[in-house]
Symmetry: C2
Subunit: 124 residues, 2 copies
Amino acid sequence: MTSQRRVVAEVLDGEHVHLTADEVHARAVAKLPEISRATVYNTLGELVSLGEVLEVATDKRAKRYDPNAHQPHHHLVCARCGAIRDVHPTGNPLADLPDSERFGFTVSDVEVTYRGVCPNCAGG
Amino acid sequence: MTSQRRVVAEVLDGEHVHLTADEVHARAVAKLPEISRATVYNTLGELVSLGEVLEVATDKRAKRYDPNAHQPHHHLVCARCGAIRDVHPTGNPLADLPDSERFGFTVSDVEVTYRGVCPNCAGG
DNA sequence: GATTGACTTGGACTGAGTCCAATGTAGGAT
DNA sequence: ATCCTACATTGGACTCAGTCCAAGTCAATC
Ligand SMILES: [Mn+2]
Ligand SMILES: [Mn+2]
Ligand SMILES: [Zn+2]
Ligand SMILES: [Zn+2]
């Protein structure tokens, strides 16, 4: 456990955020000025491998890193500003995929992304 | 309607494929050797705007272009080889997101991506 | 045949991410 | 306390997907 890794973990800890790697880097630099982008990517990759952090690809640009890995959840994304909320739909979408629609796959996971417009962007 | 656009439309027509822009370009070049990448991107963008083609981001690399835009469906992706199948789960995931989980958003769309291992990759 | 505006082209450019050789360092061994 | 070594970190070059743009082409109209 190096100071670099500790700083990356601290950045992700606490709030339920969905930061890009560069946002993580910017916040890490605030605490440890010389930390490099490469180390942030390495550490994020390790956290993902350990299952401590999830990668989410809600927009089609940068991946986002989600520290809320232990409570299964899905995402609601604003199509205008990109805001992301964790959501917990009822029902189990895996159960909604009949065998006849599995084509012999062993299905292990499902990601659900809701899209819409957030109250801010709706100009309420 | 130029010959370039016609060729891009032809590449996407027919089978239910999920090609990347560069794969579309490669197949287009086979029919019209001098067609440029820029034109393929332009044409794909227009088809997407017109609602004739969908962009899907099942893997975290290149976007894929899906000509099956008129029948709503979701995707089942092999985590090993990237194979993509169209699937039609039962139930409506929008109905599974209660108002209390909408946070004031106007939710208009939902994407479901199932992940697993295809029969080929399972080494059956 | 000239004009014109839309379409196409190639190449430069960007953003996100990966890779790598060189350097630094934590912490166990002596 | 010092030395060693395996591992972590660094910066920069590189890749890949995609965007942008100025210049060139082309087809339709006049
Ligand atoms: Mn989340
Ligand atoms: Mn499809
Ligand atoms: Zn918004
Ligand atoms: Zn497979």
